[in-house]
Symmetry: C2
Amino acid sequence: MQLDTRFSFFAAAIVSLILLAAPTTSSAASEEKLVDMTFPFSEESIYWPTDKPFTPTVVFKGITDGGWWYASNQYAASEHGGTHVDAPIHFHEHGRTIGQVPLQEWIGPAVKIDVTGKSLANRDYQLSVEDLLAWEKKHGPIPQGAWVIMYSGIDDRFYPNRKEVLGTDKTGMDAVAELHFPGFSPEAVDFLLANRAITGIAVDTPSIDPGSSKDFKAHRALCKAQKLALENIANLDKIPESGAMLYVIPMFIQNGTGAPARVFAKLP
Amino acid sequence: MQLDTRFSFFAAAIVSLILLAAPTTSSAASEEKLVDMTFPFSEESIYWPTDKPFTPTVVFKGITDGGWWYASNQYAASEHGGTHVDAPIHFHEHGRTIGQVPLQEWIGPAVKIDVTGKSLANRDYQLSVEDLLAWEKKHGPIPQGAWVIMYSGIDDRFYPNRKEVLGTDKTGMDAVAELHFPGFSPEAVDFLLANRAITGIAVDTPSIDPGSSKDFKAHRALCKAQKLALENIANLDKIPESGAMLYVIPMFIQNGTGAPARVFAKLP
């Protein structure tokens, strides 16, 4: 009996180890399942019609006097275009700059609100409090530190087609009146700020406010609350509605009101 | 006896679960231990004496006609300055651009080679094959996919003091002959490319070649092998010599020969 008991003890220990081995190994592996959610920066990147677009310049490209190849470029752009973030100072006088937001704060659970049907049918659609509550009914409460993401389906389908994404392919002040794309309703932003401990809000369109907005209430409320914004996010079709972790990694511009960002999701 | 055996089985299972619970919980936590290893971009950022430095421009900062605060900037710079990466096309005609390197490739184990004593005593120090082998004697073989990092201690102590970091605070062509800072010896780079499956090499100085180099052999060999470089990395004193994971996250410039990067380490 003593031998039997010992055998049983070790057999149980081995069974437990086998049962736990799979998840433990997978979470420790360096091969995490990552999805790049960034549009590349080029002359085609989408910027606000009044903003300076991404402008690369070749400085040297060819064989040097020394006999070897060398290539080097410069770039210039607005802080607000392509896949990029807004710092709270963008729309609030006492908001933080990019340099004042710690790295860790940019990382949080991804809450993907699917409004593709409504957005593709109506380019002026505004994500509502009801859309947020419908997500929570399905997936539970919006987790602490979440990035709440509007999934309109527009960037995935049309970026960098300016006419489809912005509603106009004109540039300059005249184009602003022709902007049409979905965004967060002021009520949805106010609800999140009052009732959920979010990190920020994100969109697969050029702005968290809808294109038709004249008063930028989503930006103003979010920045006043010192929260973060992320715009023109790519590949939203490749992450689940719940359970992914979003890494929003901005260029570290000390006095930045915004910055280009490399964004990726770690899948559950 | 049947009961005893059952009890023993469950007792063993519980012991195993308790033993495994701690590491499993800690690796699943969202509060990872991250260290930001990026210097902020500003007019003070260190660039090559002949390159365009980081140049921010305020586009608007103040109260709009609508009555709310608004602030927005532009930026312009060389791709090669501050905390930044080099793509293989920088020194090889058939090398990949930033847009051609997948996100996952930029992430790898951090191998920190401490040459602070030699580097601070001799600003022309070149990291040697012997320095690499000394690390392996202490920590085991350089892991697959590693970022092999020269830790000179110079950026941590002196960045953005140009005289201390570059060896000169002059700009333009005349400054190039006065550059002095440590880097990788050509032999150390060739050894790594021939014998270890690395992701790239990194330095806490402005270039992987030493400042005194006239032929850029480290860059040329590394780029020819389609490997990656990382320059002006910060906070190397805050990561261990072995066991951290390095996330090198560049701005996604499609045709980039290099790019500003946000770099962080996940501590073991």
